[in-house]
């Protein structure tokens, strides 16, 4: 009996972006890096009116949230949430840190990951994906990656760059990013 989803439409920048939105962490946070990417449509064209949101654990794998069974911990400078609209070239950029491993369903540990929501004109529901890190040993045992066709798994793994990581999102087509439902 939930209220259904509708598209965010082309004009959300009127209400949703805010100045500190792209910063999941403050600039002085140790280990802070830039997570950058391009959102592409089924024709390979950049999507200039998408909104990217991220949510993640802190470097210790904890959440500042009352439902974390280990207790909510606030880490100074760490919000864990970021929001960034894409620019005219379909690009977004979020400043964050690498999260720690977190408990998954059934208590099995999950490799460090960042949860991503993609909203855009033409998306009637939000899309959800995950960013994993390259050269992370824990990826091999991650229960979520294990559910994904190995051929498509690379769409969930960021690439290292000069100032952080790159994670492109392809909404449709040959290299379509894996999107989740839960």
């Amino acid at each position: 009996m939930t209220t259904p989803s509708q598209t965010v439409g082309p004009f959300f920048s009127l209400g949703l972006p805010f100045e500190s939105g792209p910063f999941a962490v403050t600039a002085d946070t140790p280990g802070a890096f830039w997570l950058r990417g391009v959102v592409l449509d089924g024709a390979g064209e950049p999507v200039p009116d998408a909104l990217i949101e991220t949510w993640q654990a802190d470097p210790a794998g904890r959440f500042d949230h009352p439902d974390d069974p280990r207790g909510a911990v606030a880490t100074p400078g760490f919000r864990g949430f970021a929001r960034c609209p894409t620019d005219t070239a379909g690009r977004y950029a979020i400043r964050t840190v690498r999260p720690g491993p977190v408990p998954g369903a059934g208590g099995a540990p999950q490799a460090p990951h960042i949860a991503v929501s993609v909203l855009a004109r033409g998306l009637l529901d939000r899309l959800v994906t995950r960013i994993y890190f390259p050269d992370e040993e824990a990826n091999a045992a991650d229960p979520v990656l294990a559910r994904v066709d190995p051929v498509r798994r690379p769409t969930l793994v960021a690439k290292e760059t000069a100032d952080g990581y790159a994670f492109d999102i392809t909404l449709q087509g040959d290299h379509e990013t894996v999107f989740f439902t839960f």
Binding site: P4, G106, R121, R126, V148, Q172, T181
Partner: protein, 238 residues
């Protein structure tokens, strides 16, 4: 890592009550809706928690879209109010609600909106508020207008207010639109009709509430928003 007991998961949406990602009537879905099946993700702590966005970011007039400028906007003054609940009827308290909309003439204050209707120097069309301890929210605004959008011949969007909600967990995040009752434009709108189940579709339509109007001042619309509930009753909160 020691094994932890996770909070109860949130219930999945009922099949067919949500929109299809590729919906031919809505042209923009054709190149943007994913074609591969979604992968089922068991809810872990990342999904069972979510950003706690707070009061600290809000200004006192953020929920009154008629008082954000020196003068008053044109249009029919309305209050939009209701509760944010989860699927078990429990209030979702202290959660951020964001809205944006056209002005009374059906024009967004956005460079991309080329509809030749007038802008209103006294209306931006964006608001934010937090729900209270009972899950209640309230906005004061003007009734938005319908506008043409070129999706198909003579396509018009029914008047609507965009809503963005976080709820308590990443799984509860919802972006949707609130519609006004008995809008004659419903039948031709593929976005509204992307929700195929009529009962689910009607949950996006506010109710006119005469008792909530302010005499000699404003009309009122009541709209409750229902986010996902949980599989089992979790431990009593707080």
């Amino acid at each position: 890592m020691p094994e932890l007991e996770l909070p109860a998961p949130y219930r999945r949406d009922v099949e067919g009550e949500g929109p299809s990602l590729v919906w031919p009537g809505y042209g923009s879905t054709r190149l943007r809706g994913p074609r591969q099946p979604l992968v089922l993700l068991p809810q872990g702590l990342t999904e069972l928690t979510g950003p706690v966005l707070g009061e600290r970011d809000l200004g006192p007039l953020d929920n009154d879209l008629t008082r954000q400028h020196d003068g008053e906007p044109q249009g029919e003054r309305i209050e939009v109010f209701g509760r944010v609940l989860d699927g078990d009827g429990r209030p979702v308290r202290d959660t951020l609600v964001e809205v944006w909309q056209t002005n009374a003439a059906g024009r967004y204050l956005h460079a991309g909106d080329q509809h030749p209707a007038p802008l209103d120097p006294h209306f931006t069309g964006a608001g934010r508020t937090m729900t209270d301890s009972e899950g209640r929210y309230r906005f004061v605004t003007v009734k938005p207008g319908a506008y043409p959008w070129r999706n198909h011949h003579n396509a018009w969007r029914p008047a609507h207010i965009h809503f963005s909600l976080f709820g308590r967990a990443f799984t509860q995040r919802l972006v949707t639109q609130m519609y006004f009752p008995n809008d004659p434009l419903f039948d031709q709108d593929p976005i509204f009709n992307s929700i195929r189940d009529p009962a689910a579709r009607n949950r996006m339509v506010a109710a006119f509430d005469l008792d909530a109007t302010t005499p000699e001042w404003s009309l009122a619309y009541r709209w409750d928003i229902v986010l996902r509930g949980r599989d089992a009753t979790p431990m009593e909160e707080d």
